[in-house]
Subunit: 316 residues, 2 copies
């Protein structure tokens, strides 16, 4: 019987589920609204898994992997996730196993992306690498010696909250100058707004109300040659390159993968990032760590979550 | 027969050697001048080990651990160490094994200190911690899941060269603003000099020629209540606390140990460091990682190097 793992990606709005084989083929998938009550959520997930299992040939479910904001690998709990309605400490793994009693692993979405990259993506065969997820914020999954770096409490790998600019932009975490206030979809919009205020240079971005400005609009403007929009990516890449230079001094990875919507800007982002990294990295690390796009093209969140299961089974 | 490991600490001026049992007792030790030629050095080390072995009851030598500047664990080589006379890439482990053919491990001095802390010191039983060595520069050994973080190339853990101040002090590495230009014995002297220039406040440090100013003199002045000297430690601790806040966001350790001469300043350094860490760390990490003094009191360098052997044997 074919062996599959269930990959579940819980987001603030939707929960995506898929049945994935060891080669990364998604045999069946679905998406449901994330429930306001966690008990409803778990029941909905279990029902959806049953439905998906009935839609394909019989398989053996070897485990469930869940990626969710603030998901803690050690405790199996989600605690204080800003974008979820569930209050307090939610024992998600325990609740899930009341419905489906298979090995179940939980971690945050960036860690799941890193394991996905290692199991199915461009980090196959690598033992030391970092995945940077560029969404509303900046997440990171750090792999050291073939294993995710969870740290003492399970929350390691918060590169989005390393300081980039002393007394810089206000961050959602309550502090100032965190990397993600500059390097993220939100950060790009903030930088665009800042640059629009700094000069009177014409720009198509001036015709978009601030509340409607998106990183995609900035990307498209830059691709059409808009000077302000191009400068936004220069600044973003410069700050990301400096942050990565420091990350390399820490864990000396073989590669750093950029994942998520903003990474789709391609050379607009990669080129200044690589240049800034090269300018700022310690000489013994120069030219070593490559900045690469993720190798996970579609269903990345489901793949990442399901990869947690294969990743764990490979280690034991 | 008692099992011992040989710990060797190679410095720019002296090489210290010791025979150490699994409990961290140094059964015999010696110190020799570091030779300008590496072949002479290896022969001198081998002769000294023989002499030490003859001075005690018969033992089984299970391995040799070497801590040296730029020592690379993977390659067994020293490459481009600024403070050693040996040019090019020196195959130290290979040369050593021509004299004594036992498992031989090489790493840099900060990594050796971290393993020493785990095997014999205050990090016993810990799986995730960081050791910061405060000497002429700032070195670091990062332990993740019970193993040293070597990274892809063996050079991970260069926290002394993470950026602390954008466009800050010139560093020996050729860049600007590295943490070690502020937080190290040398950094303390530079900060003292800077503070003496910033105000006309009286200070006993004004009577010491700049070329004779040391971190010990600053420590002693601070202990006598000298205001400028106390401010030096405030600034040093503030920058160290910020750097540690970022290191915690990376690897979320259980504790961070401060090791080396400058750590002997005690509360003068620890108190502002802890305060700055608490002010700057991401809220989910607040109060978690403790800033502690090293538990290795004497022979720390020999112990650290010898611990490499026990650390490796425990893993296999």
């Amino acid at each position: 019987m074919k062996r599959i793992s269930v990959g579940i990606d819980i987001g603030g709005t939707n929960t995506a589920l898929g049945l994935v084989d060891v080669d990364g083929n998604v045999l069946a998938q679905d998406s449901v609204k994330t429930c306001a009550d966690v008990n409803d959520e778990v029941k909905t997930i279990a029902d959806t898994i049953s439905k998906l299992l009935q839609s394909i040939e019989p398989v053996e479910v070897v485990g469930i992997g869940i990626g969710a904001p603030n998901g803690n690998y050690y405790s199996g709990c989600i605690e204080g996730a800003a974008n979820l309605h569930w209050k307090g400490k939610v024992e998600l793994v325990k609740l899930m196993r009341q419905y489906i009693d298979v090995p179940t692993f939980l971690t945050n979405d960036a860690n799941a992306a890193a394991i996905g990259e290692m199991v199915y993506g461009a980090a196959k065969g690598m033992k030391d690498f970092i995945v940077i997820t560029l969404g509303t914020g900046l997440g990171s999954g750090i792999v050291v010696n073939g294993r995710l770096l969870y740290g003492h409490d399970g929350f390691a790998g918060e590169l989005g909250h390393v300081n980039a600019i002393r007394n810089g932009r206000i961050c959602g975490c309550g502090r100032r100058g965190c990397v993600e206030t500059y390097v993220s979809a939100t950060g790009v919009v903030r930088t665009a707004t800042e640059l629009l205020s700094e000069s009177m240079e014409p720009s198509e971005l001036r015709s978009i109300p601030n509340s409607e400005l998106t990183s995609l609009a900035v990307t498209q403007a830059a691709n059409r040659g808009d000077s302000i929009a191009k400068q936004v990516f220069e600044r973003t890449g410069e700050i990301l390159g400096r942050a990565l230079a420091d990350a390399i001094a820490f864990s000396s990875p073989q590669a750093i993968f950029l994942f998520g919507g903003l990474a789709g800007a391609g050379d607009l982002l990669f080129e200044p990032t690589r240049r800034s990294l090269d300018e700022n990295v310690l000489s013994i690390f120069k030219g070593k760590a490559k900045i690469l796009p993720s190798g996970l093209k579609s269903n990345a969140a489901i793949l990442g979550a399901s990869a947690l299961v294969w990743g764990e089974l490979n280690q034991n």
